[in-house]
């Protein structure tokens, strides 16, 4: 290439022009993402602060003082709503803890120990995702009844953990493989037992994967409707998603603005999670293959 060659950018643009076009596209894209991505959350928020009569009938874009209200949030003080949300939090935390513990140990075993068929193990686990959970309510109910976990939050935690498991194990497995074995060996040389080495050296370094697995488990637990519906039949132990549907079913008066207020309350924890954990999270999700 010499100076007289035609510019080599996209569509024959010069590289500088190309950069300018690219920057413009980036700004436009960002705008679209802000609009489309953030907009529903904004909309939910603004509706939550608008008087319910207004919400039902006209389109408003901002809760101006004349229609602003905090009354919608009184729905959160309803003991039932409160229970639903509390249970959801308990279940989410329980699921996260279980998933992280079990997947750490299994991921470690897969990454560091030799045993037959382990390569196929995680893949076989993923086959579980192929079965639609629609019809397994009845067997699940029976199994949980037989192991005595029916109707307990712990039972739901176990179920949700199991659902998150294939993915979390896979993540953990691949992540632990990126931690140099030398670190552990150094610990052994220092006299640490295998367990101690795992605890002191591997686990702290798995933080990104732990957070990624936690996020996945959280998304599942926070979102779950099906399993809670089946395994927590009692109103006083059920979680948010089935709870809100029950509330919608039984309430003879539950305006959308109230629903938006509840939704907002349920949206904040994930938002905070995503904000403060994203760097670890993205590191943890750096797996590349099945």
């Amino acid at each position: 290439m010499s100076q007289s060659d035609p510019p080599g950018g996209i569509f024959g643009l010069s590289y500088d022009d190309e950069t300018r076009v690219f920057e413009t596209l980036k700004i436009v894209s960002t705008a679209i993402i802000v609009l489309v991505g953030a907009w529903p959350i904004y909309w939910m928020t603004q509706l939550a602060f608008t008087q319910y009569e207004t919400v039902e009938n006209v389109v408003t874009v901002f809760p101006t003082p004349d229609i602003f209200t905090l009354d919608n949030f009184t729905v959160l003080t309803d003991p039932e709503m409160y229970t639903y949300m509390f249970n959801t939090v308990v279940v989410a935390i329980g699921t996260i803890v279980t998933v992280v513990l079990v997947s750490l140990i299994a991921g470690y075993g897969l990454a560091r120990l030799e045993f037959p068929q382990k390569e196929n193990f995680a893949r076989i686990l993923l086959v579980g995702y192929l079965f639609s959970p629609i019809v397994i309510g009845i067997p699940l109910y029976q199994i949980w009844q037989n192991i005595g976990l029916l109707g307990t939050r712990f039972g739901l935690i176990i179920a949700l953990s199991a659902i998150s498991m294939p993915f979390a194990v896979w993540l953990m497995w691949k992540y632990i493989m990126t931690i140099p074995e030398a670190h552990e060996e150094a610990a052994w040389v220092d006299g640490a037992s295998r367990w101690r080495g795992f605890r002191d050296v591997v686990v702290p370094q798995c933080r990104p994967a732990i957070i990624a697995a936690a996020l996945f488990a959280f998304a599942l637990a926070w979102n779950d409707f099906t399993f809670a519906q089946i395994l927590l039949p009692q109103t006083d132990t059920t979680t948010f998603a089935p709870g809100i549907l029950r509330a919608m079913g039984q309430a003879q008066f539950l305006p959308d603005a109230y629903l938006m207020a509840i939704s907002l309350a349920m949206t904040l924890p994930p938002l905070l999670f995503a904000y403060f954990m994203q760097s670890y999270l993205l590191k943890g999700f750096q797996v590349r293959a099945l």
Binding site: E185, A186, W188, A192, P204
Partner: protein
């Protein structure tokens, strides 16, 4: 502290049906306080040997004893060794201080004692002001010092190193070498040091064990390995720039032998060449014993290729009938691509069996 005795150590890896003999019947004793370097090219089985000694790998056969304790089947944790790795295995999530104190913590030392010991080691290694930092904030050399410190504080019975400096640059290496020597001296335990860098092997060891293809080629003090290599491999491997090789033929042998290399004859006044009259041999000569003559008739004709001035000497590259040959010339030498001839200093000529590479005299 105990000697290390490695007896008939063999390690065979099985990988997808193939058997790879990584270490082949190695015998080696490292006496208390002795610094032995295991040196050899990449993949020759150094790490494997060391890992067997450490207890990280299980030998296929053979025994390893520390003093009178047979540790062949003992797990790492029970061997009380110190081990420095190629990839500096500092725990990235612990500060320098915590890294160094970890072994002590495991062993159940009190907080005060841990701090005291770490400070002591840090002083020795001149990293006192680094103790609060995280490993990622340290340079490679400092990291390796910390790793050294971590081993040091535990008063190990045995010191093992696996290419601890291979990721460092020349300056840092030169700087760290004396530190390692000081530390191992201080502890005074048997040390097995693995490297593929012959310079490290030469400069640090009491004895050098050259290994090739899983088998020990020569075990001897550095000078002996350098001056009296027992095979072509050792000769070539030890010394930088390495020994240059030529094809020669031993002529008549009576008292002195006559050696012919590229049509030029050299008289070798040494014993042991009796049976070799008329045989082809490999002729080895270190580059500093080859002289460059402007008289193109004085020796093997050579076309100058390139000079690498190093300040105190120059490495000059020549093209000859035996391939590219490096010669150490004086600092002011400037070959300029002209024709020369290479003349040997016959006192330093080494002869090897053409086929087996075994040293002849």
């Amino acid at each position: 502290m105990p000697d290390i005795e490695i007896r008939n150590l063999t390690k065979v890896y099985e990988e997808s049906g193939n058997k790879i003999v990584a270490v082949d019947d190695v015998d080696l004793t490292i006496k208390d306080g002795e610094f032995v370097t295991l040196v050899g090219p990449s993949g020759c089985g150094k790490t494997t040997t060391l890992r067997c000694v450490a207890g990280l790998n299980k030998p296929t056969s053979g025994t390893i004893t520390f003093g009178d304790r047979d540790v062949t089947d003992k797990p790492v944790q029970e061997r009380n060794i110190a081990l420095l790795f190629q990839d500096i295995a500092l725990y990235p999530h612990m500060s320098v201080q915590e890294n160094m104190a970890y072994g002590l913590k495991i062993a159940g030392f009190s907080r005060e004692e841990r701090i005291a010991r770490v400070e002591e080691a840090a002083e020795l290694l001149q990293i006192t002001d680094q103790l609060e930092k995280m490993p990622a904030d340290l340079s490679g050399g400092q990291q390796q010092r910390v790793a050294l410190g971590r081993s040091l504080v535990r008063d190990p019975e045995i010191f093992l190193f696996d290419e601890p400096m291979s990721d460092l640059d020349a300056k840092l290496k030169a700087e760290l070498r004396p530190v390692i020597e000081k530390v191992t001296d201080e502890i005074g335990c048997p040390t097995l040091y693995v490297t593929h860098d012959q310079e490290e092997a030469m400069t640090m060891s009491d004895r050098v064990a050259v290994i090739n293809g899983g088998e020990l080629a020569q075990v001897a003090p550095p000078k002996e390995v350098y001056d009296e290599p027992n095979s072509q491999f050792v000769s070539q491997f030890i010394g930088q720039p390495s020994t240059q090789f030529f094809d020669g033929n031993v002529g008549s042998v009576n008292g002195t032998a006559e050696l012919d290399v590229g049509g030029y004859a050299y008289d070798l006044s040494r014993d042991g060449l009796e049976g070799w009259a008329g045989e082809d041999v490999r002729v080895g000569l270190r580059p500093q014993y080859i002289r460059v003559s402007e008289d193109t008739e004085a020796g093997i004709p050579a076309t100058h290729l390139l000079d690498e001035p190093l300040g105190d000497a120059t490495h000059s590259f020549f093209d000859t009938e035996f391939g590219e040959i490096v010669v150490v010339t004086d600092p002011d030498f400037d070959g300029n691509g002209k024709e020369y001839s290479l003349v040997f200093d016959d006192e330093y000529i080494q002869l090897f069996d053409t086929d087996s590479g075994v040293r002849i005299v």
